[in-house]
Symmetry: C2
Subunit: 284 residues, 2 copies
């Protein structure tokens, strides 16, 4: 398994695979890999011939008051995990290599980025789409893999690649969860033991709304109220947003007659966690 | 010579060339081809193995009060010219194909786009960089060709491709001029005969400043005054901007000790023309 910080070397590897008629699957990550990431690497290996993983904590997608400096960077462990999963190589990006002096380009998706995490984290998605456009240009993969936990991110990247005619298939895979239902996230490492226990309120809130939907409830206000009640039961939780939106446009809806995305962002102490569930709709 | 409006067909052609170890040169245009464009096609053919020309009047790069609807579209003549120059194919883009419903992505370069035409035409360069990013993703060329008349555009696109790690070489070729020095432009077709005569004031203004530079003048204010005097001599001319800027950053300079770009935008009646000259510096 190769490891390089040089974009030109990554492109050489990818082009060598392509020249040998091997399909390249790409898994962009910020490292601190968990089972969610590993499921993406496995899918990339199964659906393509070679899996390339990028590990780079992208400063552009962090707001000035966010957790850029303390974001976990267990690189040696990540390398072991990639090797164990049979990744072909790791692109370990650097700030100097990716944003050299004079860098001044940004890539932005409107509309889809207006609500949910886009509203809570101004500039976040511009940072995501800019780095993803760069990484796709460097890696030139046949397919790129994203997790459904970051549902809005996946939708935005799908839009980005369609709009810019980037020749890559975007694959979105189901959220991987801990046994108690907490969605895997690198940020779960921030949680103290009592916070970790409290963090199950997200999945409990989603399940309350899912059960209401399954009983036939279609009013978004009621589904939202179910999620809110699930979160209010947990004193350590402070909701950032609680939304019921159209799974394609991510716009607020009044009724979930054609399915819905239930989406949450919740502060547990100093850690912001997100989770979501589709009702009456499938992952695209 | 093939002609298609289908991005997927263009990519197939380009990939077939690449698979046959042929280099692809790309000349993006808005059609109404003149000798300037033809010099780019010739360079693409000479430096690469196949030249692909795109012809598309990109609405995104026109302001609401600009000349989008009346921009000339002599497609049959353009096809003849491309064939005569030995182009391999023409991508004749369409609004529906390039900006389908829901399109919401933009690509933007900051800083370099702030002055000159960027200041006069808000949103223009965002339109340019968005379509060029798309066209480069579709055509996947080894090299792309631009004219020095649109000096700022070329600088912006160089920045774009470097910043997004797009695997393409940007080539900027000298401005091609009419016998009396007027820079070739599709917009020259708008000029009435008296306006056409008046339009030589741009090159006369640039030459006055060049001569002053050659005599040893380095003060930007004096170089600007020379250009202004050259334009004021022409009653049909209404200057939009008259600038002396750094050839790399395009920022205003006080002195031209390390060379300069002399840059003009001038209204001749209802037609806005631009031209520029480098002094003490070479095309990059």
């Amino acid at each position: 398994m190769w490891i390089t910080s040089d974009p030109a070397r990554v492109r050489e590897w990818s082009r060598a695979y392509r020249a040998a008629h091997l399909r390249v699957g790409f898994v962009p990550t910020m490292g601190a890999l968990h089972e969610g990431h590993l499921s993406l690497i496995r899918a990339a290996r199964e659906e393509c011939d070679r899996a390339i993983v990028s590990i780079y904590v992208n400063p552009l997608q962090f707001g000035p008051t966010e957790d850029l400096s303390r974001y976990p960077r267990p690189f040696a462990r990540d390398v072991d995990l990639c090797r164990r999963e049979g990744a072909a190589g790791i692109f370990h990006g650097t700030d100097e290599g990716l944003y050299p002096p004079g860098f001044s380009t940004s890539v932005e998706v409107a509309k889809l980025t207006e609500g949910l995490c886009g509203a809570s984290r101004p500039g976040h998605f511009r940072g995501v789409t800019t780095i993803v456009a760069k990484l796709l240009a460097i890696v030139e993969p046949h397919a790129a893999y994203f997790g459904a936990k970051d549902f809005q991110q996946a939708a935005v990247i799908r839009r980005l690649t369609a709009d810019l005619d980037l020749p890559v298939r975007i694959r979105v895979l189901p959220t991987i969860r801990e046994p108690d239902g907490l969605a895997m996230s690198s940020r779960n490492a921030y949680l103290t033991p009592p916070e970790r226990e409290a963090a199950t309120c997200l999945i409990r809130a989603l399940r309350r709304a899912q059960e209401a939907y399954d009983r036939g409830e279609r009013r978004a206000s009621t589904l939202r109220a179910e999620m809110e009640a699930g979160l209010l039961a947990e004193p350590l939780a402070r909701p950032d947003y609680i939304e019921v939106v159209d799974p394609l446009t991510l716009e607020r809806i009044e009724r979930a007659d054609r399915g819905a995305l239930l989406a949450l962002a919740v502060w547990i102490g100093g850690t912001r966690l997100i989770d979501n569930a589709l009702v009456g709709a499938q992952l695209p």
